[in-house]
Subunit: 424 residues, 4 copies
């Protein structure tokens, strides 16, 4: 383990710190809610002396979260929640400029990855922060000695929360968790506005195609799908949606989009994006009927939504023709293009969710940590939603930061609503 100014770390190149500092600062300019919380934390020190181990994507936004926790008095250490998402410049700056131990190298192998998780757990965390439940999983399976010292944990993702609820149900969850993912100020904004814009961004960077006039097929009309369909239409595309849920399909229709089975869409689509959370949504039978020139991308969490193995099997050749663009040639000469190897296109070919969106997600992280420390005595071994007051507080801070004011109920109105709710 190296040290820089006495801070232990394992980063790719500590000399990248200055570039990392610029990047962190630029993200910070779009994270006013976290900055407000940070200023309060500096004064109130609600996490004074609390050991926090965070296993998150090591990005500029995470850096600003780590700074905030540290400002609140926490002793933070950070490792990566994915071997490929670490921004090495950011890792270096966190160590050098903020004195925060970071153990993450972009492209690290599996052993290193799990080694780093072990290292942050060696700090004996009182609070764990997860993006996919790796810390919780490791602790429950092989580091049970830590459990006694843990106040609670937070979880950022749908996937993680599902796993944790399953643990709770099975009676094996050993400490309280706050499901940050389920806060309104997290999933409403992140999925619709974050995924919507960044998916378009990823497609443009990968292809430089004109979207206007294209048949743009959005597979799945959940929150992500809605955001994406709306943005694609905003770029002049003619949007087609596919669904398995009849109510959502009706909503898509009444929102002005075409709805049809993927088998039908396959024949007329120019660009296809999957955002379903499901597997092989675009499959062999669809590749067989696509127009030459069809472009495929995925913006769902895992790279299983497009059946790439089958696509390759069907093709006589596969080659990269732009950094994030591969061409597959079919025996009949048709060409199908795959973006970013079917991985989340907004991360593979763009920069993921804009900082402005992560501002709210990570404000939930910071305030959830504070809440758990304050309420340590009363929390049970279960998965909690983020308290509504925190959610509303974050929305209010975000509006404030944009200079936007909203109304509040007059006394008369509050009374009216109260009476009405009682049915009088």
């Amino acid at each position: 383990m190296s040290k820089a100014n006495g801070v232990p770390h394992d980063v790719t190149d500590i000399n990248l710190a200055s570039t990392g500092a610029d990047m962190i600062e630029w993200a910070d300019a779009s994270m006013p809610v976290l900055a407000t919380i940070r200023r309060r934390f500096e004064t109130e020190r609600p996490l004074d002396g609390i050991r926090v181990s965070a296993c998150l994507h090591v990005t500029t936004e995470t850096a600003n979260l780590a700074r905030t926790l540290a400002a609140g008095g926490a002793e933070v250490s950070v490792c990566a929640s994915n071997p490929l998402s670490t921004q090495d410049e950011v890792a270096a700056s966190l160590v050098t400029d903020h004195g925060i131990p970071v153990f993450a190298r972009n492209g690290e192998d599996n052993d290193t990855y799990y080694g780093h998780i072990g290292t942050v757990l060696d700090a004996k965390p009182q609070i764990t922060m997860d993006d996919g439940a790796d810390l919780v999983g490791t602790i429950h399976s092989s580091r049970e000695e830590l459990i006694a010292g843990i106040i609670g944990g937070t979880e950022e993702t749908t996937t993680g929360v599902i796993r944790l609820r399953a643990m709770q149900k099975a009676g094996v969850l050993e400490y309280p968790i706050m499901a940050v993912n389920e806060a309104d100020t997290k999933h409403f904004f992140d999925n619709r506005y974050g995924t919507g814009q960044s998916t378009i961004d990823g497609i443009l960077r990968a292809t430089n195609l004109l979207l206007a006039g294209k048949n743009f097929v959005v597979c799945g009309y959940g929150w992500c799908g809605r955001g994406l369909a709306s943005r694609a239409r905003g770029m002049g595309a003619n949007v087609i949606t596919t669904e398995i849920d009849a109510t959502r399909a009706l909503e898509a229709l009444m929102d002005g989009f075409r709805v049809m089975p993927i088998a039908e869409a396959a024949e007329i689509g120019d660009i296809f994006v999957t955002v379903t959370g499901n597997k092989n949504v675009i499959d062999k039978s669809h590749f067989l009927t696509m127009k030459s020139g069809a472009v495929l991308a995925n913006s769902g969490h895992f790279d299983v939504e497009i059946n790439i193995a089958e696509l390759e099997r069907l093709s006589t050749s596969r080659r990269k023709i732009r950094p994030m663009l591969e061409e597959f040639v079919m025996p009949d000469g048709r060409k199908v293009y795959l973006l970013g190897e079917g991985r989340l296109i907004n991360l593979a070919s763009a920069e993921g969710h804009p900082a402005s969106v992560m501002d709210m997600s990570f404000a939930n992280q910071a305030l959830a940590a504070e809440y758990m420390v304050k309420n340590a005595d009363s929390l049970e071994k279960q998965v909690y939603p983020v308290p509504q007051e925190i959610d509303q507080e974050i929305a209010r801070l975000k509006l404030d930061s944009m200079g936007i004011k909203v109304d509040s109920l007059t006394e008369e109105q509050a009374a009216y609503l109260g009476a009405w709710q009682e049915g009088t």
Copy 2:
């Protein structure tokens, strides 16, 4: 009580039947889900001999619901849920052409109104259908002898459901109720697409104003407000929203609308529409700062959202200048215009929700009735949601009627989702 071909009734003019028949038929053309259910009911007769008393707005859409229930074998009788909403032609046609007893006259006085409720209860209903809980209320307060014979009831509105839940909580609800209002295929479509379009329609009929380029203030960004804001933007208006909820305000902002307190919006708005469910949302202090020419309308359930009494008090004159448009002149010469006396503008000045939307609401009514008859033995004295299967079935039938197909999960996909839900 009059009779026509042996059918008892109290309608305004039985000779209007033929016009009413045309109107009912035109609505029917947009109600394919109900028509599909009606065809099945004709064969299966699931309500055979069941006495149904319905207290609903006596409109073309209700007529098609009543026909459907009758086709299922029910003995239906109908009275009005509001003294002003009865379409007299429709009432006449229901009696003459469909042999359904109707007791409803547009503009009937209070005594007649409650007398009609009594008359339909005299039929000793086994199923009650309410739009505002008047039947349930009357039965529980003064016709308790009927309770023993009742299988269950349905309720169409938010207001009604709130009252019924309060009764359940207080332990006084004496028979099972299905909350039709809470079905997805009801409130998602009704509020967004129904209110959105019909409010614009009402404003245009009342004013013939050009919406393009106007500052159009939408008070409240709930489902109705979202629908309306989207439609107003679609007509070229520049939409401003006001809210008391910070998260909704943020959503409005990220949907591209301006957000500000009503006090600020009051000074720059050209057209104001309230859809909040609250009281005095536009109040004295706002009238004082509005531009001359400001137009006010309400599309919330009750006519309390604009403080009309205060508006009149502030004005030196009030006069009607078009059928649904009144001018109020302020002492400083400014003119403020009120549409439809502050009542629901889509009913006052247009024709309410299009039949296509009511198709789904009333399909829920019909299937809820069938469900209760089938499950009479197992229902408790409580408020039930519409079963999800019914909701999904209605969405599917609606899509079918539009010739729209959706996908279904492959076995592999179902397995994948199942596994994922278990957190593996």
Copy 3:
């Protein structure tokens, strides 16, 4: 010829004046440009003693134009440019409240119509105002003795301007004409925003159909078609356009609409609107393939765009089921619905262009009259465009009336543009 307070007239009922006054006032509130011009005219009296004969639709907007001309000192007399468009209340108010001779009765027969034209010409006009070139036509064919006294004329419509240019080309035009139709502040706004909104309005009043999710076919992607397509999409419809011009078709496509031949659209459309200026755009072969329930409307100038005669021939029955809605039943049972007998749906079933749009059109009329009087000596016997200064002045006044400010060039910028235009 009757007289009221010494004002000669031929109107349907002079007692309707007070209702007419309210209607005129409501329109006036949306015609601030004309009002500004009227105030200036009152002071400057640029038309002092000038005899103006106007043959225009006798509507609230025309009333405000007539008031403006009179305020400028003109001696105005008015007849109708169409036997069916006269608002009798407005005619009565113009006579009674504004002392303007009006000769127009809604529903007048052909002889009366031409008799009224003769009457306003008896006033020996110095300026003629036309909406379809009837005054100019009559003068050139049978009232040549008036020509010597005429300064010039104005023309409101495309149709009229085409006829007048043909006359000029043939060398038979005997006095100068200003083509109001060709002003930017006329045709840009009138066609896109006026026709767009009022066509939607007409369809809703005629049908009360939900537009969301419907296939809405717009035949013709000219200015009217663009306006309509944009508004239909704004109401949640899925818009399909048909065109004969390839460049316009490409624009429609890149604006996000579907483009296909009318024969293909016929099979999938729910609502069809023609705005082409052409004949039999929807024809026999299309009726044969339409879905049952298809709704047809026309928003082009003449009622020839839908081949109604052929539709009737194909049908086994034709009947009216709502005021502006007729049902045609095909031998195979399919039903096709025609709105407003194929006449301009925004006039047949709604109230035509909103006053706010006519404000600019009629401001062009008033300023064109002033310009011709001022420049009487230098005008040739030809068709003139409205001078650009007038066009810009009207746009500026309109913006002022809405409280909107725009920038002006700095000296440096003007110099830069000048230099650039010289290619340096």
Copy 4:
């Protein structure tokens, strides 16, 4: 001068050819019109033996134009129309794979740049192709001996056309020119859809900012401004427009955007983009009142629209914090961000117009060259528009390539329109 396989050239690195070939092929997939023309040219050889010198941005799209001309039999040589826009890989591939002499190096100095122009002129062109009139300018000023051999030239840009018309007016233009810029299929699509999308793309790559909910100020509501405003709204931004022309300002307003002077917009804007063609549109007084965090970009042709010199003078520091993003700090601590040094943001930070748009622009180039060769005898020394048949043909080919069909007039319809145009 180097040679590769006998082809003279001056490119940065001939070994980049294979990457260049991939890039050219990817663009080609979006240039079906040019490909169709190329296939016809291969058969018909309309440019057989014609010497064409082209001074254009050496990009993938230009490569496909050059291939097309060569396929038609032309002897093409190419130099750059801007020292910074050359894609060195493309230059290498044109030489190696297509045998076309290219003289262009990205970043070449002024002497080299003009030397390269001289080299392509040494080929004694019969047709010149310009993007900014550099070839025409050089020939007229110092290579007059070439004039006798020249059939004609084409010009791609507004700027070039203005210069050439000035020359014609001054009587010094010595050979015919076709103004490709003025074709409908060029400027309608290029400006609206090309600039609209690629400007958004450039801003996202430079900043990764969330656009939803931002005040996005578009300076100038010409064709570029309309495209950009529409796309920004499509991304959820709240768009504000500024204008100097009152009619355009009214259109912006009725399209649903806010309109205000730049001085007012300066105070509330989050992102500013200039597309005016003018100078110092955002100037000192505006920098002084901007919110901290304001982002500035230019998408107009020259980098003079934002007064960068003044911005620097006002600032206490200027530093680069991301590749295309500079921070300027004001004495009061406010930070203003400038993208791409104020150069065209879609070229500086993205990839310029998508190939699909250039397809039509360059099809005009190819067909204009063919037209001039065919009509060499009848062309005068003046600037010609692209013949309408060519424009329509390109639109038709583009639609064909997308599988879109349009209607054509029936005989009856053509007759009707003809009659109408004669005023009957």
